[in-house]
């Protein structure tokens, strides 16, 4: 098991090296000169040159790549062109929004998906099952930015139950923070819940047909006890895997939803930084997104090994 994890870690480093190089190359060929964007349409050649020098853009590409990677190893991510503050500070501030938002969306989606999937699977073909199927089909089909817009219209603008935009930070209290993040988290959670409900249902049906469940039932264990005691824990492994696979889509959803709800999160930071060609911010934020996706998937794999002893010997 340790060897498996060590191999995965080595693979992780290789993947990250590949991503950082690809990112750097993309940013290198990205049209748009950050200095020209800063100085606008009346800029003169001499001021542009002075600013490029100040930004370190006149150094050769290799030096800049190595400088970036070397700096990261020391925990130095560089200074944002547009804000003039360290990128690590910016990312820290934004993670305080995107982190809880993504977690909340995940929790909401699990709270919807698991009961729905389990109930649907325990009564296949019945009205609950058909309702669950309908929900998951529709939930997957409707774009999350669209759900976000509709929720914003109905619950914020019309009913005034939730703030329509922005985030006052966590200083005003935990509950107020959660309150402000609830709608965007819900918008992100619905498509996730739809997918997870489907996986849960299929997985529960699979496990219910396995021998050990039949044996347990034959030994006189009640249906619901067998379901919650034996079936559900085993059926959650594929759900966890799907969660890991979906993290990339979830973070992508955060980009759109944060824009619709004007939340100062990582997704909006990346979007704005790209518009302003704040290259230092872009490469670090995108890399961080990649790290999150990879680490979450690694964690899911580790969890897999823990949850399912049968897999320990394999791979």
């Amino acid at each position: 098991m340790l060897r498996t994890l060590a191999r995965r870690l080595a693979g992780l480093v290789a993947t990250l090296a590949l991503i950082s190089l690809a990112l750097f190359l993309i940013i290198e060929v990205l049209p748009g000169d950050p200095a020209a964007i800063m100085l606008g349409t009346s800029a003169q050649a001499d001021t542009l040159a002075a600013l490029r020098h100040q930004m370190g853009l006149d150094e050769p590409a290799i030096a800049r790549y190595l400088g970036w990677v070397g700096g990261m190893l020391h925990g130095d991510f560089g200074i944002s062109y547009s804000y003039g503050v360290p990128v690590s500070q910016l990312i820290g501030e934004r993670l305080a929004v995107t982190g809880p938002l993504t977690l909340m969306a995940t929790l909401i989606s699990l709270l919807i998906a698991i009961p729905l999937g389990v109930f649907a699977a325990s009564r296949p073909g019945r009205i609950v099952d058909q309702g669950a199927t309908l929900f998951s089909q529709l939930g997957i089909a409707v774009p999350n930015f669209w759900i976000g817009l509709l929720l914003l219209m109905a619950l914020s603008l019309h009913l005034g139950w939730f703030p329509a935009s922005g985030f006052d930070g966590w200083d005003h209290g935990f509950w107020q923070g959660l309150h402000a993040l609830f709608l965007p988290a819900l918008a992100m959670a619905v498509p996730q819940a739809a997918i997870l409900a489907r996986v849960t249902r299929a997985s529960v049906i699979d496990v219910m047909n396995e021998d050990f469940v039949r044996t347990a039932r034959a030994k006189g264990l009640s249906r619901s006890r067998a379901l919650w005691r034996h079936v559900v824990p085993n059926a959650l492994v594929p759900v966890a895997t799907m969660l890991g696979l979906q993290i990339s889509y979830l973070l992508a959803g955060a980009v759109l939803v944060e824009n619709i709800f004007s939340l100062p999160g990582m997704g909006r930071l990346a979007y704005q930084a790209l518009a302003q060609r704040d290259l230092v911010v872009i490469k670090n934020v995108v890399l961080l997104f990649a790290v999150i996706v990879i680490v979450v998937n690694l964690a899911v794999d580790a969890l897999y090994l823990l949850l399912d002893p049968r897999l320990r010997g394999r791979s």
Binding site: G32, W146, M242, A270
Partner: protein, 283 residues
Amino acid sequence: MRAGMMRWLRDNKALAAGLVITVSIVVLALLSLFWVPMSPTKMNIAQKLKGPLENGFSSGLLGKDHFGRDIASMLMVGARYSLTVALASVAIGAMIGTALGVTAAARPGFTGAALGRLNDAIFALPPILSAIMLGALMGPGTTTAILAIGTFMIPVFARVTRGAAMQVRARDYILAARMAGEGEVTITLLHVIPNIASQIIVQVAIQLAMAILTEAGLSFLGLGTPPPAPSWGRMLADSQTYLLKAPHMALAPGLAIALAVLGFNLLGDGLSRLIDPRRRIER
């Protein structure tokens, strides 16, 4: 005969519904090449924001947009762009992804591991962000959308086909073929791919749905096909500030997207059940 058809329909509800929806959308898209109720590009500022049939048939079945264009006609033409982008990007993803997947399965050593890392790298980047970067690089447009979405289909297909190919490779007949002296390329082309084709087809249907959804997201951000070509995502984006004044502007394209995605998803579900009633859906 009739009873048989009814039974087939009862057993394959999802497939039937998926077929009806997708075929209708394809037919409407093709019809728009020859006929649309009104011009989808002709502006009529005097008619702007008019609701469905508000001025009789002159304001259109689904109403007018902020430039007084006919929304029903725009949706029909928009279906064409949506389908084109979806088909082209899934074709890219399926071809490259399958090639990578079966290669990785055939060469589990260094090549397989390297391809695995490449896959992980593409997969680790949130699709919308990478698409925005690609848009910045190449400029927004149909080609950009196709490439951006196609790239993100690659790891999906690679994963599915690699897993399936590995299973097939463990079968006896592959061993027999290898004993008979067939090369790896021949084995892959003649024995592996035909045996995993059904799973690829199911995946194609599901990914078509994903592609339509992603294309709408890109167009929503202004990275899709440029105007005057109507695109569903851009229609949604345009509708955003008119939600209170003209909700019909937002409802029609939103429903069109949802219906198309639903159609292809049902098709994928139905196909997978048809092929293997017990198989789970991979996404």
